[in-house]
C-alpha cells in the first residue's frame, strides 16, 4: 500500500476543503437570516393573518375547426361550486368550521351525497388546494350558493372553461370529446402535470392531439382571509397567465359532412367516409348511431348511457375506423386489378365457363347473385354486372398470394395510420393465416372462389375502403389518410408520409378499371348514382353477415375524369349495396358537386323485395 500524501500537503488540502465547507454553511446562515430576521415580519403576517393559497388559472383548450375555419369545438365558461381550504390559525378551528351541518347543507345544495363532499373537503384541507365540489352547475344552484355563502365558510364559485361542440353530433366520433380526467388517467399521466379536475381528450381528435390542444395552466399565489376569500396577490410573485392550447384545423369540410350526415340519416347502424383521393385527407366521416359530445363533455349519467345504448349499438364506437366488414363485391376491383397486373386476363378476356347462375367446384355449386345467369361476359362486363361466376374463376387462376399482394398495395389488411386512436386493422388472409386454421398446405382451394368476390375471411374498415377507392381513383399513388390539416403555432407538425406502397402497374390497366367502374354506374348495378353532367365511377357490394341481414357496401369516386372525392359507405343489415348505399352516395355527390339547389330529399331506406334476396347465396 502506498502511503498517502505527506502531512503538510494533507493539511493544505484540508484547509482548502474547510474554506468550501464554511462558505456553504455561511450561505445557509445567510438564507436563515434573510427569512427569520429580514423577512420575519412579512412572513409572520402571511402565516398569522392568513395564508397563501395557490389558485390554478385554467387554460382554455385549443379550438378545432374545419378546413374553412368553421368552429367544430370551442370553450364556454362554466360555473363550478368549489371549496377553498380554511386558513385558520390552528388545526382545531379549521376542522371546527366544517361541521356535519355544513357538510349536510352543502351536499343538499349541490345534490351530492355527504360522504363524497366530506371526502373532497378533507382532501382539500390536507393539501391546502381548492377542491371542485360540483362542476358546471345550473344557474339555480349558483344563485343559492351566492345567497348562503356568508353562512358556509370556504364555499365559493369559480369560473372554468368546458368544451362546447356547436355542430352537435356532426362528425362526433371523429372529433371525440374532452371531459374531466378520471382517476385511472390521472395515475397514468401524473408525470405530465395533470391534476384532478383537468379536462382531457377521451376519444377521437380530442384524444389523439391532446398534447397540442391542451393549454398550459397558469397559476397565482393569493393571500386569503379567514373565510377563504382572496385578499390580494402575493407580493413578489406575479401570477403566471394561462396559455391557451393550439388550435387544430381539420381536413374535414363541414359542407360535405352535413351532406353525408343527411344522406346517412336513414341508416341505423353504419358508417361512411368521404376522402380527397389526391392526398388522403378526410372530408367527412359519419358513424351511426350518433351521439352528442356536448352531453359527454359535462359528464354523463349511467342511466342516460344505458338509454343511448339500448338498441345494442355503441354510439361512441367510430364504425368508420373501428369496425371491419367483409368488403363484398367492392373487392372485385382488386381481383380485376390483380388479374390485369399479373397478365392473367385482359379487358376482353372471357372465362372458360360462362355464367349460368352458378359454378361447380369441388363437388359444390357456387351461385351467382343473379340466378338467371350473365352468360359469357368479358372482364369489363363482369365487373359492370358484378358477375360472381367470372370472379370465382379469376380467383382460382390468380391464387392467394397475387390477390392479397394487390389488396395490401391498396391499403387493406393493415392500419392506414390515420391520426385517430384505436384504428382497426381489418384482415387480409395469407398462407400463414390458413395454415393456422386448416393445417399447413391443407386449406381448401374453394376458399379462393369466395375471396375472388370479396367474401370469406376478408375484413376492411370503411376508412380502408375509402383509401382503396382513392388509390384506384388517382391511378395507384399511395395516400396517407389523415384528419388534421394544420396546427396553429405548433412547430414540427407534419402529415406523415403514406404507409402503403401504392400500386405501380401499366396505365392501360388503370384505364380498363376506370372504364369498368364508370360502366357500373352507367349501365350496371349502381345506376342510382348517375348524376347528369358528372361522370361517376363506383362499385357496389353486399357483405355476408352470418349474424343477420347482409351489410350493404358501396364505394365510388367523382368526377370520374378528375376525381376530387372518394366515398365508401357501409349500411349494416340493410341488404344490397346498389339499392341502399348508391342513393346515399348520389345525394351526397349532388350536394357536394352541384350545390344545394339541385339536391333532392335525402333517400329513405325502403326495403324492396330485391333486398331480401340472399346475396351471394351458398
Amino acid at each position: 500500500m502506498p502511503p498517502g500524501p505527506p502531512q503538510r500537503v494533507r493539511d493544505d488540502r484540508f484547509g482548502a476543503l474547510s474554506v468550501v465547507v464554511l462558505a456553504g454553511f455561511g450561505l445557509v446562515v445567510l438564507g436563515l437570516l434573510r427569512l427569520q430576521v429580514v423577512q420575519h415580519d412579512e412572513l409572520t403576517r402571511l402565516a398569522e393573518q392568513n395564508r397563501v393559497r395557490l389558485d390554478v388559472l385554467r387554460a382554455p383548450r385549443g379550438e378545432i375547426r374545419d378546413r374553412l375555419g368553421r368552429v367544430l369545438a370551442d370553450n364556454q365558461p362554466a360555473f363550478d361550486v368549489v371549496f377553498r381550504p380554511m386558513p385558520a390559525e390552528s388545526a382545531a378551528s379549521a376542522s371546527a368550521a366544517i361541521t356535519p351541518a355544513w357538510i349536510a347543507q352543502v351536499a343538499a345544495l349541490i345534490g351530492d351525497d355527504t360522504l363524497d363532499v366530506r371526502r373532497r373537503v378533507s382532501e382539500a384541507n390536507h393539501t391546502g388546494q381548492t377542491a371542485v365540489l360540483r362542476r358546471n352547475s345550473p344557474y339555480a344552484v349558483m344563485a343559492a350558493v351566492e345567497e348562503l355563502r356568508a353562512d358556509l365558510p370556504g364555499l365559493d364559485v369559480q369560473v372554468s372553461p368546458i368544451r362546447r361542440y356547436p355542430e352537435g353530433a356532426a362528425a362526433a366520433q371523429l372529433l371525440g370529446y374532452a371531459g374531466e380526467i378520471n382517476e385511472e388517467e390521472l395515475e397514468r399521466r401524473k408525470e405530465d402535470g395533470y391534476r384532478l379536475g383537468d379536462l382531457i381528450g377521451k376519444t377521437g381528435v380530442e384524444r389523439r392531439y391532446e398534447e397540442m390542444l391542451r393549454g398550459n395552466d397558469g397559476a397565482e399565489f393569493v393571500v386569503v382571509n379567514a373565510m377563504g376569500k382572496r385578499v390580494s396577490g402575493l407580493e413578489g410573485s406575479p401570477p403566471r397567465p394561462p396559455v391557451a392550447g393550439h388550435d387544430v384545423t381539420l381536413t374535414l369540410d363541414l359542407d360535405v359532412q352535413r351532406a353525408l350526415d343527411e344522406a346517412m340519416s336513414g341508416v341505423d347502424h353504419g358508417a361512411a367516409v368521404a376522402m380527397d383521393p389526391r392526398d388522403g385527407s378526410v372530408l367527412a366521416m359519419v358513424s351511426r348511431p350518433l351521439f352528442d359530445p356536448n352531453e359527454f363533455a359535462s359528464g354523463i349519467s349511467f342511466a342516460r348511457w344505458r338509454e343511448l345504448t339500448a338498441d345494442g349499438g355503441n354510439p361512441l364506437l367510430n364504425r368508420a375506423i373501428q369496425s371491419a366488414y367483409p368488403p363484398g363485391s367492392t373487392f372485385k376491383v382488386i381481383s380485376m386489378l390483380a388479374g390485369l397486373n399479373y397478365h392473367v386476363v385482359s379487358a376482353g378476356s372471357r372465362m372458360p365457363e360462362p355464367c349460368t347462375g352458378g359454378f361447380y367446384f369441388g363437388g359444390r355449386r357456387f351461385r351467382c347473385w343473379d340466378a338467371s345467369g350473365h352468360g359469357s361476359v368479358n372482364l369489363v362486363e363482369a365487373l359492370t354486372h358484378s358477375c360472381d361466376v367470372y370472379f370465382y374463376q379469376l380467383g382460382l387462376e390468380l391464387g392467394l398470394d397475387r390477390m392479397m399482394t394487390i389488396a395490401h398495395d391498396l391499403g387493406l389488411g393493415q392500419r392506414t395510420g390515420i391520426d385517430l386512436p384505436a384504428e382497426a386493422k381489418g384482415l387480409v388472409p395469407d398462407d400463414d393465416y390458413y395454415a393456422k386454421r386448416y393445417g399447413t398446405q391443407h386449406w381448401p382451394r374453394g376458399l379462393l372462389l369466395n375471396l375472388g368476390i370479396g367474401q370469406g375471411e376478408l375484413l376492411a374498415t370503411p376508412l380502408q375502403l375509402a383509401t382503396m377507392t382513392s388509390i384506384v381513383a388517382n391511378g395507384g399513388h399511395p395516400v396517407r389518410p389523415h384528419v388534421v390539416k394544420s396546427i396553429e403555432g405548433y412547430q414540427g407538425f407534419r402529415i406523415e408520409r403514406p404507409l402503403e406502397p401504392g400500386l405501380k402497374t401499366d396505365p392501360g390497366n388503370w384505364q380498363t378499371v376506370h372504364t369498368a367502374m364508370e360502366d357500373v354506374v352507367e349501365t350496371g348495378t349502381a345506376q342510382a348514382v348517375k348524376i347528369p353532367g358528372i361522370p361517376v365511377a363506383g362499385k357496389t357490394g353486399t357483405a355476408q353477415n352470418p349474424h343477420g341481414r347482409d351489410h350493404a357496401v358501396f364505394v365510388c369516386y367523382a368526377p370520374a375524369d378528375r376525381p376530387t372525392i372518394a366515398l365508401a359507405i357501409v349500411a349494416e343489415n340493410s341488404g344490397h349495396g346498389g339499392s341502399v348505399c348508391a342513393p346515399i352516395a348520389a345525394y351526397t355527390l349532388k350536394r357536394v358537386l352541384l350545390g344545394d339547389s339541385l339536391a333532392t330529399a335525402p333517400p329513405r331506406l325502403a326495403l324492396t323485395p330485391a333486398d331480401s334476396l340472399r346475396y351471394p347465396s351458398d
Partner: protein, 405 residues
Amino acid sequence: MTRGRLPDLDWPLALATLGLIVMGLFTVYSATSVPGAHQGLWMKQLLWCGLAFIAAWIVAAIHFRLYDSLAWPLYGVSLLLLVAVLVAGTTRMGARRWIELGPIQFQPSELAKLATTFVLARYFDNARLNLRRARWWLPPLLIMTVPFLLVAKEPDLGTAMSFPAMLVAMYFWAGMRPGRLLLGLSPAFNVALFFVTGSIWWFAGLFAALLAFARPKLSLLLAIVALNGVVAWQLPRLWNHLHDYQKRRIETFVNPETDPTGAGYQIIQSKIAIGSGGVLGKGYLKGSQKALAFLPMRHTDFIFSVVGEEFGLIGALTAVLLYAVVIIRGFRLAAVARDGFAGLLVVGVVTALFFHIMVNILMTVGWAPVTGVPLPFLSYGGTALVVNCVQIGLLQNVALRRREY
C-alpha cells in the same frame, strides 16, 4: 475492533451526530403530532436508531483494508442492483428507487454511493497516479458516470448529483490542481448558467476569469474553449427543439416558484414556516404551519422547516453548527489519517454527506430546487438513517486506525 481502542473514536464527531439524531427524533415527534398524521412514527424512528447504531458499530469494527479489497465486487453488485431496480423496482411518487426485500425496502443507490467511493479511493490510492494524463484521470470519470446515469434514470437527480460532487472532491484530494478541476467542470457551469440566466454571457465572463486563474497549456486551452463553444452553440437549438412540457420541467427545476403543480407551493410554505419562526421560534410543538398541513412532507424532506418554525434562528443555527462539526471533523480525519486509501475514503464519504445537507437546507430556505433529498440524521426514514450512520461508522473506522499505514 477491541475495547482498548475505543478512546480513539473521534468524540466531537460522535457527539455531534448523536445530537442531530436526538434533535431529529424530537422534531419528527412534533411534525407528526398533528391530527391526521401517522403519530407513532417517532417510535419507529427510535427503533431504526438502534439498528443504525449496530450497523455503524459493525462497519467501524471491520478494518478498512477489507473495503479496499472488496471495492470492485461491491461496485459490480451495486450496478447490477441499480439495473434491477430500473427493471423491477417499486415505483413511488413517479420514481423507481426501491427494491422490496420482504418488509424492508432498500435503495440500491445508497449502496452504489458507498461502493463507488471505495472503488474511487482504491483507484486514486496509487503511487504511479498522474492526473495530468487522460490515461489516469479518465477512468474515474467513467467509474462515476455509470452509476450516476443509472441513478439519474430512476429518476433521483438529488442523489445522482452527489456522485459527481464526490468525484470532484476526490480528484482534488488525489492531487488534481484546482484550476484544472474548475476548467473540467466548466461545461457544467455553462449549461447551468444558461438555464438560470437564459443568456450565454454570464458564463462567458466567468470562463474568462477562470482561464486567467488556471493558465492552462495551449492544447488544453483550445480543447476546453472548443468544448464550451460547442455547448454554448448547441444549447439554444436544443432548447428550441424541446417540447413545451419538457421546457416547463426545466423551468420548474431552475425556478420552482413558477410551478403551479406543487414544488413552488412547497417552497413558499417552507419559507413562511421558517420565516415566521423568527429568532426564538414559536416553541416546541407550537408550529402553526406544520399543524395545518400547509407544510408538505414536513417530517421527511421539509423537516428543517419545522426546526426553523419551532426553534427559530437559534435552533436552526444549532443544527447548522452540529452539521458543521460533523463535516469539518470528518474532513480533518482525512488530514490526520496516514493511509492513502483511508484519506480518500473519508473525503468521498464526507463530501456526499455535505452535499445532501446543502441541497436539502438550501431547498427549504428557497435557494435550491426541490429534488426530494432527505436531510441526513433529521428526516424521518429508516433506510436513510442507517446509511448515514454507516457513513459515520466508516469515518470512525478511519479514526480508530488513523496511525496505521
